[in-house]
Symmetry: C2
């Protein structure tokens, strides 16, 4: 099996393009990871996810620990086999969903106790258990357990939360189950405070990880502050390791973050929006529920290569959305994931050719020019 | 364009195998038609429906007249283009759903008035309007408007209902918009009364149709009575025209009906059951919700060729069903439609080889032997 490596093939300003190698294949960067929460990218066959251009998907430790349970997944041969996705998988640590979904959560120095949002059953998550779960799932990239600091939080609360996360990062590293080609990423916390972010990044660098994520963003702070945090954080991370901006984001967020040196993203937007009748297109977001699409024979995007745009009119998509047909979720998710992957491919090409600024400007101008013609 | 034709390639007892030719391609018989109610076979891409082996799908006139409306579909190039299904389509007349779904329906000699179950809007359906709608949709096989007699009904009520349907059949024929390769099928009514069924069949034969359906069955009368009705009806229909048993049925219903001379079927069972976590298999129905599948690494059916059985364990399907994931509906619908198509292929082969009885016996024994091993 291959070792976990990250090769930068080209840079353009702060942006980089390259490839991460894992035991289960290569991830072209900058990369967008579709969300496969409960061992499925919702409304998509895994081969269709791959057809959109995705090299890696994300699995949610919180959801999988509740159902079907990591021991069961391990018994069945691991998450890749379980969900029929032979390519790389990144699992988060479970921390973020514990904070956002679980009930009656109680954090202490050792970890977090909570009740399942599904049936109220009690669970305990610690850095050690998170490492154990991710090893049972068998993912290729593991994430350290962290506390996702609420937004807004004052500097003192943010600092002590970040410091707890750093102690958990240290324990996660100690508990990480090594395997050929498997990686562990640290997660920078520190809210909107540049000094805390810098301190968090330096702490993680000293511990030493295969890659570094920036967590706790896209929680309401706004794009400008998010970019400020990236500007303050990334110089403190080793340039030769992948950098992953967690839970982000809109197309313009991705472009801005790539131009600041981010290599990896995950976000529910393309999949969740697809299930809500929202499409991302080169000319901005489109709400298929809108009556103006009812008799429009054109595809969502004439030049898009996806299954949705190659076979169906906006009128048909409008009909499916109105009728709440499953096929609406299937086609719009397919399109949105293709849009995101094509955006990443566009960024990779532009970085390789030293025209990232031009690509970004053209893409953003077209995107904000308004709804699709 | 081809003319509408029906060629019988082989018979075995009363069973026949052959092919219907329409302007949009051939339909191998006996044929099972998946239901594409609202211009989509739920949870399936049309190319996947075709991959299961389906030559034709059924569209529901009632649903399509309400939403998106037949004039709109016509404007957009017809139902085939709208739903990206270039193969044959049969549309029903709308009559059955008016009786089962619509509100405040009032039948008179001319037709039926009702309110939409979606928004209460008022509609009027007559034999002439049904023919107009089906022509606007552009389907390959049109059905006459009939009154679906409630079950149970006394002989006198059933007779007058059947007679109304016969008058509507005559008007449907007169209003049918001819087109190359397009067919109009009559529908035999008469409830569970052999004499009424025979009279209805003879009446339709005298009017003259491209094919003949048996309607008003699988409404609670039970399989034995249904078969009795077929036995009493089919001898009165021309042997050289396709015979279609509407809304049927379970695998054993299909086998028994084919052995009595039926050529075509439609039913929501494989698709609806798939969305409810129910699978049809060679060894009988399987409820994936059942906890005994939770750690079962085997596919639903080891020898099934479908995408579901080739990539996923029963444990995974159980997980998806429990988590109410869209992929559960997608995979189980795919499997169920494949099961139904393979059953029809098995019947076609068996008829061609003169071993229909053996095939039927083996299939039924295995099917009723109990839940899958």
């Amino acid at each position: 099996m291959s070792q976990f490596t990250f090769a930068i093939h080209a840079t353009d300003g702060l942006a980089r393009t390259g490839a991460i190698t894992t035991a289960r294949g290569e991830i072209r960067t900058p990369a967008f990871m579709p969300i496969g929460t409960a061992a499925t990218v919702k409304a998509m066959l895994p081969e269709s996810v791959h057809e959109t251009g995705a090299d890696i998907v994300l699995g949610n430790t919180y959801h999988l620990m509740l159902r079907p349970g990591p021991e069961r997944v391990a018994k069945l041969g691991g998450l890749h086999k379980f969900m029929n996705w032979p390519h790389p998988i990144l699992t988060d640590s479970g921390g973020f969903q514990v904070m956002s979904l679980a009930q009656l959560r109680k954090i202490d120095e050792e970890g977090v106790s909570f009740q399942s949002h599904l049936d109220g059953a009690e669970y305990r998550l610690t850095p050690e258990r998170s490492m154990e779960i991710q090893a049972l799932l068998g993912s290729d990239i593991h994430m350290v357990l962290d506390e996702c600091t609420p937004f807004p939080s004052g500097e003192r609360d943010t600092a002590s939360s970040m410091e707890l996360s750093m102690r958990w990062a240290q324990r996660s590293k100690a508990a990480f189950r090594e395997a050929p080609g498997r990686a562990l990423f640290g997660i920078v916390q520190g809210g909107i405070y540049p000094e805390l972010r810098a301190r968090s990044a330096e702490t993680l660098k000293a511990i030493g990880f295969h890659g570094y994520a920036v967590g706790g963003l896209a929680v309401g702070e706004g794009q400008a502050r998010m970019f400020d945090v990236l500007d303050a954080t990334l110089p403190h991370l080793p340039a030769d390791r992948p950098r992953y901006l967690m839970g982000v984001g809109k197309p313009d967020d991705l472009i801005g973050a790539v131009m600041r040196g981010i290599d990896m993203f995950d976000c529910v937007l393309p999949t969740r929006s697809g299930r809500n009748g929202q499409a991302f297109t080169r000319r901005g977001p489109v709400n298929l529920r809108n009556a103006r699409h009812a008799e429009d024979p054109r595809p969502l995007d004439e030049i898009c290569r996806c299954r949705c745009c190659r076979g169906y009119s906006r009128a048909y998509l409008h009909h499916l959305v109105k009728a709440e047909e499953i096929l609406a979720s299937m086609l719009l998710t397919w399109h949105n994931l293709t849009y995101y992957q094509d955006l990443m491919q566009g960024l990779r090409d532009a970085i390789g050719e030293g025209r990232t600024n031009v690509f970004a400007k053209e893409t953003l101008v077209r995107y904000v020019a308004g709804d699709i013609a």
